[in-house]
Each structure stands twice: as structure tokens, then as C-alpha cells.
């Protein structure tokens, strides 16, 4: 072999490397949107409350601040006892469903993975139905839903693998089959227990109508823990995007990461489903919009999805309770109205990769 000639001295480009980070502008922007949405949601309703008065009312809670004005006692009660818990719950559930969707998408490396489509929601629904029918204490509803959700996602994954591979379509078809089956079982359970039918159906359709602080307290710990766990894996989900073999060669125990993220996402989804009923498409729509606008890394997708998911569901709930006022639509209907066409769009753009 000929000896290589000595390399000429290289002049290196001194621009610093910019690895992917959460873009602060996007975070501030989305949090701003969320705040605005919250304020609007709190002011709109049968009793119109001026946003300025609500802002004063909130600032009053800051220690050391004394302000005049704001709301009278009745208005204050409407705000804090009726609207606020409902809005906070919608926020938590929206954030959770969006984060869970993004988490499943990372684990299954599949842009269409979503708690609703993976059979998690249907399983959680069945679990919760069984709990309601058997008269279990309501605080245990999230756990019952969790067990059902795990069964749902495990069945979907096993069926999808058994049917040959992990392609997008196989997994989604498996999810459809599992969801249909679990929903059928749920219907059977319902029809055999007609006395609790109303309660169960009111719950399935997804509504925050009856939400109180009690519901918020029931789900809060589950959702916080689930979101923290999934978020903590944001870098590892980026590593998983090169596939199990390569992630393994980079020292990531891929199977363990996937299991932990799936369990956390399922736990959070199940808790959300247990208080809010079945609300579809948040987990697909929100992470996708974030990805398109701000970047595909899970360091960006997970935090922003939480914020945008919260804003999205609070808005959807606002529409649900105003569009047919004085009546009310289940919020799942509103998210499906937006989500289903969006889903078709995603399906079209991701078809080339299936």
C-alpha cells in the first residue's frame, strides 16, 4: 500500500454544534396559548364571567397580593366549584392522552399508535365498566381501568406480531379487532346490568359535565406519575428511533425501556379514561401537529404535546358545552370531529413508509 501523503492542515468551521433542544420560543408560545384558552374557557358559560375579573380572581390566590374587584360570591362559586374543576380535569386528561400517544408512537415506532387505536381505551373502558357494575369504590376506578388497558395493549401487540410483523397497518388492524372485541364484551356486561346502564353510558361518551375536584384528585397522582415517567424517557425514545437492534448496540435495554414507557402511558391513559370516558384522537392529532411544527425529537414532542394536548382538550370541551347550549355534546364527539379527518391525512402521508 502506498503511504498516504500528509494531510494539509485543516481549518475547522468554528460554529458550535447545536444538538436538538426544546425550543423555548415554542414552549413559551404554547403555554401562552394554553393560558388564553383557560381564561376563555373559564369565562364562557351560562353565567358569563368577564375574563378580567377571572384574572383578578386568580391573582388573589398569589400570597401577599390584595386586589379589589373580581367576582361576587355566586360567581366565585360558579367559577371555582363548577368550571375550574372541569377545566383542570380537561387539561390533565388532554395532556395525558397527548403524552401517552407520543409515548406509544415512540415505543412502537409507528406514527399512528394512539391509546384509542391500540385497544388501551377499549380495555380501560371494559375494566372501568366492570368496576362500576360491580359497585367498586370510585377511587379504584383508575386501577380497574389500568388493568383493562394493559390487557388491551398487550392483546393488540401480541395479535399484531402474530399476524406478521410490526408494520403500521398490522398493528392498527390488530387494535381495531381487539377494540371491537372488548367493546362487545363491555356492551354485553352493560346489557346484563341495566340498572347501572345510564351511569356507564354517560361515562363512555366522554364528558366532563359532572367533574368535581374529587375527580381531579382521583386522577392527579396517576397522571403526574405517568407523565413524569414518559417524559424522563424522552432521550431514550430518540435512541429507540433507530430500532431495537441498533439501540441495543448503543447500550439501551430496548425491551425494558419499551415496557416501562408502555406501562406508564397505559396507567395514565387508564386513569384519564376512568374519569373522562373514551376520548379519541388526542393522542394522534397533538403529537403530529407538534412534530410538524417544532421537530421530531421526543425532547420536543413530549413536553410540547403535554401543553398543546391540555389546550386542545380544554378547547374541545368548551366547544362541546357551548355549541348546542343549553344542551351539551360529549367531548369525545368533538375530538372525533377534528381527529378523524386528521387521521386520514396522517394515514395518507405515512402510507409511503408502511
Amino acid at each position: 500500500m502506498t503511504a498516504p501523503s500528509p494531510a494539509p492542515p485543516k481549518t475547522y468551521d468554528a460554529t458550535p454544534l447545536r444538538p436538538v433542544r426544546l425550543p423555548w420560543r415554542w414552549l413559551v408560545g404554547t403555554v401562552g396559548v394554553l393560558m388564553a384558552v383557560l381564561l376563555i374557557a373559564m369565562s364562557v358559560g351560562p353565567a358569563g364571567l368577564p375574563p378580567s375579573a377571572i384574572a383578578i380572581e386568580i391573582v388573589k390566590y398569589v400570597p401577599g397580593v390584595h386586589l379589589d374587584g373580581g367576582l361576587n360570591d355566586l360567581e366565585s362559586a360558579v367559577l371555582w366549584e363548577l368550571r375550574a374543576p372541569r377545566i383542570v380535569l380537561a387539561m390533565l386528561v388532554g395532556a395525558m392522552l397527548a403524552v401517552a400517544g407520543a409515548g406509544y408512537q415512540g415505543v412502537f415506532r409507528n406514527p399512528l399508535a394512539d391509546p384509542y387505536l391500540l385497544g388501551v381505551a377499549a380495555g380501560a373502558g371494559l375494566g372501568a365498566t366492570l368496576a362500576i357494575v360491580s359497585g367498586t369504590d370510585r377511587t379504584l376506578l383508575p386501577l380497574a381501568a389500568f388493568v383493562g388497558g394493559v390487557v388491551g395493549v398487550a392483546a393488540t401487540y401480541a395479535l399484531g406480531r402474530g399476524a406478521g410483523g410490526r408494520s403500521t397497518t398490522t398493528l392498527i388492524l390488530a387494535g381495531v379487532a381487539v377494540s371491537a372485541f372488548l367493546t362487545a364484551v363491555q356492551t354485553y356486561v352493560n346489557q346484563s346490568n341495566t340498572d347501572s346502564l345510564r351511569e356507564v353510558y354517560g361515562w363512555i361518551l366522554g364528558r366532563f359535565l359532572t367533574a368535581g375536584w374529587r375527580d381531579v384528585l382521583i386522577v392527579l397522582p396517576y397522571i403526574v406519575v405517568a407523565i413524569v415517567i414518559v417524559m424522563a424517557h424522552r432521550r431514550l425514545l430518540d435512541v429507540l428511533s433507530v430500532g431495537q437492534y441498533e439501540a441495543g448496540s448503543l447500550g439501551v435495554p430496548a425491551a425494558r425501556v419499551r415496557l416501562v414507557v408502555v406501562l406508564a402511558a397505559t396507567l395514565g391513559t387508564a386513569a384519564a379514561v376512568a374519569v373522562s370516558g373514551l376520548i379519541g384522537f388526542v393522542g394522534i392529532v397533538v403529537p403530529h401537529i407538534v412534530r410538524m411544527l417544532a421537530g421530531a425529537s421526543y425532547r420536543i414532542v413530549l413536553p410540547l404535546s403535554a401543553v398543546v394536548g391540555a389546550a386542545f382538550l380544554v378547547s374541545a370541551d368548551l366547544v362541546a358545552r357551548t355549541i348546542v347550549a343549553p344542551g351539551e355534546l360529549p367531548v369525545g364527539v368533538v375530538t372525533a370531529f377534528i381527529g378523524a379527518p386528521f387521521f386520514t391525512l396522517v394515514l395518507r402521508t405515512s402510507r409511503s413508509r408502511m
Binding site: 500500500m1 454544534l17 447545536r18 444538538p19 436538538v20 432521550r235 448496540s249
Partner: protein, 264 residues
């Protein structure tokens, strides 16, 4: 001894013996290339060394069995350039190369300034700095292969596995990548094990060769001992002529079965 030793290594996949009783040694800082016909088990053997498939027998680096290492420790010992690396959607080159630092980043932590400095050096060495912010999906095959090599080198592992690193590349890019590997090998004292299709190239870059057929070693040694017309005819079913080249060692030329008849 220092370097990599495989002792009676076997791999069974779906009940089939894909690699059988392979014993070989690669001294530290040397380059071993595994050649063999399609389906001989080259990739599987590399995957066994990488820890991706279960195996029997013993695979040890510097006398430490790789199976005893935890996954992070193993990734600091063995780096892999896979045959068909995944190109993650929307990931920039700098982030892709940073993936190679995974075994040094705390489990739920984030990359340090040291990790970034290591990656910066590699991007300069492999002339990838100008691509740093380009998505990997937009790179040409040659650029991407250098990026994958950079990721593997970022692992700072003494052992580098290359599974058909040049199969997607044209002649010039293939040579460029192999020269880079050789340069890194001598600079960093890496032990390299590669699987290669092209026999001439295999002979040019490796210190020693192993001919794997049906999962077992049928010949091993320097190029002259392994790349013979007889062995290639017997195991590839190919008619070749092996020529001596005073500079480059051996040249393996495929020959047609019959002399083409000129059209009338």
C-alpha cells in the same frame, strides 16, 4: 490475551444451526474480515459478537466474556456499523452521531459537554461538520455511511464491527469509507471485524481473513491462503482468477463460464 477471542461459538436461530463451532482470535489493533457466500452466517456471527443474538461458546475481549458485561459497558466495548442502518425521520446528523454517546450518558440523563466535544471532533475528522444540522434522511448513501461510522466511533469502543459497510456504496465511496476505517484503526488501535462481499477489497484491507461456509470456518489466514481459485470455486460456485498484484496483494477476477461468441 488482548484482542477478541471466540471459542466454540455457535448460534441457533429457529432451530437451525446458523453459526457452528467458530473459534478464532483477532489480536488487538488488527483487522479481520469474514467472507463467505450468501447465507453463510457472516452477519449472524457479527450479531453474536454485538450481543444481539444469543449464542453458545465464549466471546471474550481482553479475556473478559462480553456476556458478563452490562449493556452500557458492552456498548463501550463493541461498536457496530450495521448492514442497513435505520435513518430516523427528522433527526439531524449531529443528533444521530450523539446517539453513539448513549453508553456514557446517565440512563435518564442528558449528553454532557464532553459528549458534544467528542462528536465535534468526529464530525471534523470525517468531514461531516457542514452536514451537522442536515436531517440524516437527506444525505447521500456515502454521506450517511460516514455518519453511521461517526456514530460507532463516538462509542469509543476498542472493538469495531462492520457488517457489509460498503454494500450500498459505489467504488469511490466504498474505498473512502474503508480507508477511514483503516486510518481510525491505526490511530486509535481499534480491533476491526468486518463482513465483506467483495473479495479483492476484503484481501486489501484485512490483516487476516476467515472463510465462513454454512456457519463454519473452512479456511483462515492471510489473503493468499484464503482467497484461492480452488476455495472460491468450491464454496462460491464461482469461476475466478486470482492474480498477484505487487502493490495491493491479490486481485480476484470473476470469469465467464463460456467465451462469448461474436455475433455473425
Amino acid at each position: 490475551m488482548s484482542g477478541l477471542t471466540l471459542t466454540e461459538v455457535g448460534v441457533s436461530l429457529l432451530g437451525r444451526r446458523v453459526v457452528d463451532d467458530v473459534t478464532l482470535t483477532v489480536p488487538a489493533g488488527r483487522w479481520l474480515t469474514v467472507v463467505g457466500p450468501n447465507g453463510a452466517g457472516k452477519s449472524t456471527l457479527l450479531r453474536a459478537v454485538a450481543g444481539a443474538v444469543p449464542h453458545d461458546g465464549r466471546i471474550a475481549h481482553d479475556d473478559v466474556p462480553l456476556a458478563d458485561l452490562r449493556s452500557r459497558q458492552r456498548a463501550r466495548t463493541v461498536a457496530v456499523v450495521p448492514q442497513e442502518p435505520t435513518r430516523p425521520e427528522g433527526m439531524a446528523v449531529v443528533d444521530y452521531v450523539l446517539l453513539g454517546r448513549t453508553p456514557y450518558v446517565p440512563y435518564l440523563g442528558i449528553e454532557s459537554a464532553t459528549d458534544l466535544a467528542v462528536v465535534g471532533d468526529l464530525l471534523d475528522t470525517l468531514e461531516l461538520r457542514e452536514f451537522a444540522e442536515r436531517p440524516v434522511t437527506s444525505l447521500s448513501s456515502g454521506e450517511f455511511q460516514r455518519t453511521v461510522l461517526a456514530r460507532a466511533l463516538a462509542q469509543e469502543a476498542p472493538l469495531l464491527l462492520l457488517d457489509e459497510p460498503t454494500s450500498a456504496l459505489d467504488l469511490g465511496h466504498a474505498q473512502q469509507v474503508l480507508e477511514l476505517v483503516d486510518e481510525m484503526r491505526s490511530k486509535r488501535g481499534l480491533t476491526v471485524i468486518s463482513a465483506l462481499h467483495d473479495l479483492t477489497t476484503a484481501g486489501q484491507y484485512a490483516d487476516s481473513l476467515v472463510l465462513l461456509v454454512a456457519g463454519a470456518i473452512v479456511a483462515e489466514g492471510v489473503a493468499k491462503e484464503v482467497l484461492t481459485e480452488e476455495l472460491i470455486a468450491a464454496h462460491y460456485g464461482a469461476r475466478v482468477r486470482v492474480l498477484d498484484d505487487p502493490d495491493e496483494g491479490l486481485v480476484v477476477i470473476p470469469m465467464r463460464e463460456r467465451v462469448r461468441e461474436d455475433p455473425p
